[in-house]
Structures are given as structure tokens and as C-alpha cells.
Amino acid sequence: MDFMGPSLRRGATILCVGALALGMAACGDDSSTDKTGTLVITLSEDVAGDALVDSGTDPDQRYTNTAGNSYSIQIFEYLLTEFSITSAASGKMAVDLGGAHYRNAFNATTNTLTLEKVPVGSYEQLSFYWGVPDAMNFRDPDGRDGLPGEFEFFGWLDALGGGYHCDRLNGAHYDSQGDEIGALALHMGRLDKGDGELTNCHTQISLGGLDFSITSGQETHLTLSLDVDHITNAPVIDFTVPAGMMGWDMTMPNHMAQAAMRDNMGDVFSVVVEP
């Protein structure tokens, strides 16, 4: 669409010529001056190195956590937000994700997030948030939400603090005979600690010691891996510990379980720079 009238266009042309005369960057669309590339992050999950398999695909798949609980996983989904990369030369810069990335570990259509227009350069750290930071973690009755409406399905109950889940991990856990004890629902979200203060489940993750470059017009690939086992390993979470109506296996209203899982998130992720 032509949005400039004749007089404005002539004025813009004069300005561009003048800029060239001064040795500044040329106006107009010139891809040879594009100083950005694309960062493609592939998400993958495992359980202490074992493949993550949903119980629908393999009803006999079992995992064992640090507490010795045997469990299966039917659903695992989570949100990642606020990606940034850090270089020694220019420090930390945000790369626009356009909101949040929803990942369903059993749906391949969600396993890639593409960050475009990333400034060229050499980088040594990738950072992001597990879950949704405070500034975006709200859903109001008047329709103002921190994330677009399509994320409503990942909303966290208003009665428990509102906003969004950080994750939903559903499965079942079993006794030593292999019989099902009950459902497993390791959901992280906002909670009232009991003193009126709401805690958010979001955790900033920073993965340093990297060496990757963004090249003009090129794609750079990283693989971001999540080890599910680490969610419950230190502090150790035992699914069989009761806690009122819901124990450590149904965590939505269980602040202690929420806090323990959040404490574990620091070493859940690892990243590999792909050649």
C-alpha cells in the first residue's frame, strides 16, 4: 500500500540522498545491511536420560524418581517466556518471543521456537523464564490478560492466585507391586503462602558457558533439553507424602510442593549448540 503522498515521497527521497552524502546507512530496503539472524531453539525432554514417553503410547512405561516413587506421565506441558541472550561485548539483550511459548512435550508442532531479528554477534549465555513473570502473570475479569486469550486454557485458578500455570505434568504413581496409588498432577502456579503474599512459580533460567554466533541472514540452532527427573530430585519430592486432601502428588494447592519444585528448576535445563 502506498502510504506517502507525492510531496512526502519527494521529501523522503531528498532525505535519503542527503544521508548517503553524509556516509550514513542507506535508506530503503537493502538486505545487505541486515545485521540480524535467526535463532532456532528446539525443545526436548527426557527423564534422567531416558526417553520421555507418554502412558498412552506405552502404558507400561515407568520412571523412578529420587524418592523411589514409580510413576508414568500422560501429559507434560509448560510455558517459556522472556528469552534473552548475552554477549561479552554487548551484554544482555532480549529477543522477542512475542509473548509466551507453549510446549506440549508430546506434540511435535510445539517443539520449536524461532526468534527472528536477533542481532549478529557472538554470544555466551541463553536466559529465559520458566513460566510467566509477574508483569504478565494475570487474568482479570474485565478481559485484561497478561497473555493473549489463546493462553486461557493454561490459566491458573483465580481462587489459587490467578494468572497462568508454569506447567502441567499429569500421570500416575504406583506402589512397589506396580498397582496404581493415584493420579499425579505436578502443576506449578501462583499460590498464597498463607501469609497473604502470593508467590509466582516463574523461575529465571540462565545457561552460560556457551559459544554461539548469530550470522546475518542465517539460522543458528540450539537444543534446549529439560530433564523431568530434576523437577523432583533436590529437594527430594516424595509423591506418597500426604498433605491434607491433596498430597505431594496433586500439587495445585500445596505450597510446599510448589516451592520445592520451583527450587529444583535451576538445574532442570541444559542447552547444546548445534553445529
Binding site: 506440549n104 508430546f106 508442532t109 486461557e152 493454561f154
Partner: protein, 356 residues
């Protein structure tokens, strides 16, 4: 200004010297309320002419073999466009289908259609019933011939799409445009969110039961308000679920994906206007909401393969008496909440009714 034009572009009256003040259209209100734009494909943008044509086609039995059955024959407005009272619907030859006719409520935000999700768009969904021998049983080429020979349709298609060269895609494009106007955002629950009224104490308790994991835990599959529909995101694992209806369930989503992990799973529909869409479940086996709640309370089959683990956990826990069963009071409170999701304006809106 006609209601149709008002849907697309509303203008208020008032002081002629003042800048024109626009009242928000229903679509604008809905998009603002949901925080989500209508999924209006670029290949089929909504226009007044397209919507009007789609409305006419929706109500026209010309699209059936013996010209007795329109889309609206099974999708009836007064029942939120479900087939009120019928477990499954009867086609033109008297045969009953295998599944309950789904309601059509806010379909413009959904990403998957049919109980097994085999259609990713309204356009694709509308292609299926016309030639289906147990539904409308009319081959598309014959349907097109009829439309082309009709006194009005060639001009209507020309006006809507710039072409009187009719094909099945244009027919379903028009129907889809009309269906995207089936917007429902004015139930009692919605009005309570806007502060226009207060829910009753029973309705409030019912909503708590809807959300509590150790009670209904309904929100995980049927969504949170205001959208109340998880299918706005196709990649979510709870768009389709097995709720333990049967120990040996019908194939469900398996028929669409051929994945064993999808056997027995069906789309969890929006619960908006659910009080108007009886009977319930994919096969219409439950006549009332009361029966549905009692099923979830004590009737789920925990041995159903691929059953949602949380529903199964609750079922097992109730069997073992480690989780309390719902009381009669809770059941009625929960039904009261579901009834608060009824939008009577949607059921009677003139712009959605038979145009003739």
C-alpha cells in the same frame, strides 16, 4: 442499519456535530472479552454478503438429496444449534447417525471440529455432512448443479465471492462465515463478570466445584472462563480426553489420528449453553445434566484405556472412599452453575435465525 451490518460495523447516533461514536459490535465485544481475535482465515474473510449467503445456505434444504433437510434441521438455534432432545440425528433416509450433533457456539475461536477432531476448520467441517449417505446424502456435484440452476444463488455467490462459478469450497466458505457469527458472550455468568448482576450462592458454589481438582476438575478439559473452550489451542493435550464413559470405549479420536493413545478420546466441548444441548456425551446417552454429574461422581469406568489420569485418580479415590462423593446439594449447585452459562440472547438472536 440491519443487524447483519451492525455485526460488522456498528455506529451510534447522537449529536450530529460530534464525531461519530461507534458502539462496539458483538464481534468486537467478544474479541475484547476473550482477548483473542476471531480465527478468520485470510482465504475466507467475513463479509456481509458472505455471511448472508451462508445463513441462507445453512437454512436451505436444497443441500440434501430429497431437499428436506438443511444444516439447521439438526443444528437448531433454540438448542444452541444442537439437535435438542435427540441422542443422535436422523438423516434424510431415516437412519440415525452414530454421534450426538454438536452445538455450534463461538466456533470462530475453535481449531478443531467433530467429536474426533477430524476437521481443522469450519470450512472443512461443512464439506462432510452434505454427501454423507446417513445425513444429507447429496453428492457435491449435484448440489452445485442445483445452486447454479437456482433463481437467486448465482447472483448471491457473485455478490459474496465475485464469481457465480459455484463450487463446494465457496458453499462451505459461506456457511463458515455465517457460523463465525454464532457468538455467545451474554450468559448470566458473563454478566456477572461484567458486574451487571450477581450469581446466586448456589451458582457460585457450583463454579467452585467446577474448578476444584478434588471435585469436578472440569476446567482442565472444558476450559476456564470466559472462553470455556480449550480447543482454541490445537496443540493442548486436553482438547481431547477419555472421561471413562466405557471400559471398552468407542474409537473417538483414534479414527482421526490412528494413534492408539487417542482411542476413546473425544473433544471436550465448550460448556457454554450446555443446559440447552441435551442429551449429553458423544452418543447422547445422558438425558440431563444431573445424570452427567452423577456419572462423573460415581459412574466413571477407571479401567478405560487412555482415560484421563486425573479423572481416573478421582474415580479410584471415590471408590476407595479417600475422596468424598458429591452430595445432593453439591450436584444441584453444580447444575445451577452450568445453567448460568446459558445465553438466552444467543438462542433467539434474529440474525442467526432462518432468513426466510
Amino acid at each position: 442499519m440491519t443487524g447483519l451490518a451492525a455485526f460488522l460495523c456498528a455506529c451510534g447516533g447522537g449529536d450530529p456535530t460530534a464525531p461519530p461514536k461507534k458502539d462496539p459490535t458483538l464481534l468486537e465485544r467478544a474479541e475484547d472479552y476473550f482477548g483473542l481475535s476471531l480465527r478468520d482465515p485470510a482465504a475466507n474473510p467475513m463479509t456481509a454478503a458472505g455471511i448472508a449467503l451462508g445463513r441462507r445456505l445453512f437454512y436451505d434444504p436444497i443441500l440434501s438429496g430429497d431437499q428436506t433437510l438443511a444444516c439447521a434441521g439438526c443444528h437448531r438455534q433454540e438448542f444452541a444449534f444442537s439437535d435438542g432432545g435427540n441422542a443422535t440425528s436422523r438423516g434424510i433416509h431415516g437412519e440415525f447417525g452414530a454421534v450426538n450433533t454438536p452445538a455450534i457456539v463461538n466456533p470462530g475461536w475453535s481449531t478443531t471440529f467433530f467429536w474426533n477432531g477430524r476437521a481443522p476448520s469450519l470450512e472443512k467441517q461443512a464439506l462432510a455432512p452434505v454427501p454423507n449417505p446417513i445425513e444429507m446424502d447429496l453428492e457435491w456435484n449435484v448440489a452445485i448443479e442445483r445452486l447454479e440452476m437456482h433463481a437467486d444463488y448465482p447472483q448471491l455467490f457473485l455478490g459474496a465471492f465475485g464469481s457465480s462459478d459455484i463450487d463446494s469450497n465457496l458453499v462451505t466458505d459461506a456457511i463458515a462465515q455465517f457460523e463465525r457469527t454464532m457468538i455467545s458472550i451474554d450468559s448470566r455468568w458473563d454478566k456477572s463478570q461484567r458486574g451487571e448482576l450477581s450469581l446466586t450462592a448456589d451458582e457460585i458454589v457450583g463454579e467452585v466445584l467446577y474448578n476444584r481438582e478434588d471435585r469436578g476438575d472440569c476446567f482442565h478439559c472444558h476450559g476456564l472462563g470466559p472462553i470455556f473452550d480449550n480447543s482454541v489451542v490445537p496443540a493442548g493435550p486436553l482438547v481431547f480426553a477419555n472421561n471413562g464413559l466405557d471400559s471398552s470405549p468407542d474409537a473417538g479420536r483414534f479414527d482421526s489420528t490412528q494413534m492408539e493413545s487417542d482411542r476413546g478420546k473425544f473433544k471436550a466441548p465448550t460448556l457454554r449453553n450446555i443446559a440447552m444441548t441435551a442429551p449429553y456425551m458423544h452418543d447422547g446417552r445422558f438425558a440431563t445434566l444431573d445424570e452427567v454429574v452423577r456419572f462423573y461422581n460415581t459412574g466413571m469406568h477407571a479401567d478405560s484405556p487412555n482415560m484421563d489420569v486425573k479423572l481416573r485418580g478421582n474415580a479410584l479415590a471415590r471408590e476407595a472412599a479417600t475422596l468424598p462423593v458429591w452430595t445432593e446439594t453439591e450436584i444441584s449447585q453444580f447444575v445451577a452453575f452450568l445453567e448460568s452459562l446459558t445465553d438466552s440472547s444467543f438462542l433467539t438472536r434474529a440474525e442467526l435465525s432462518d432468513p426466510k
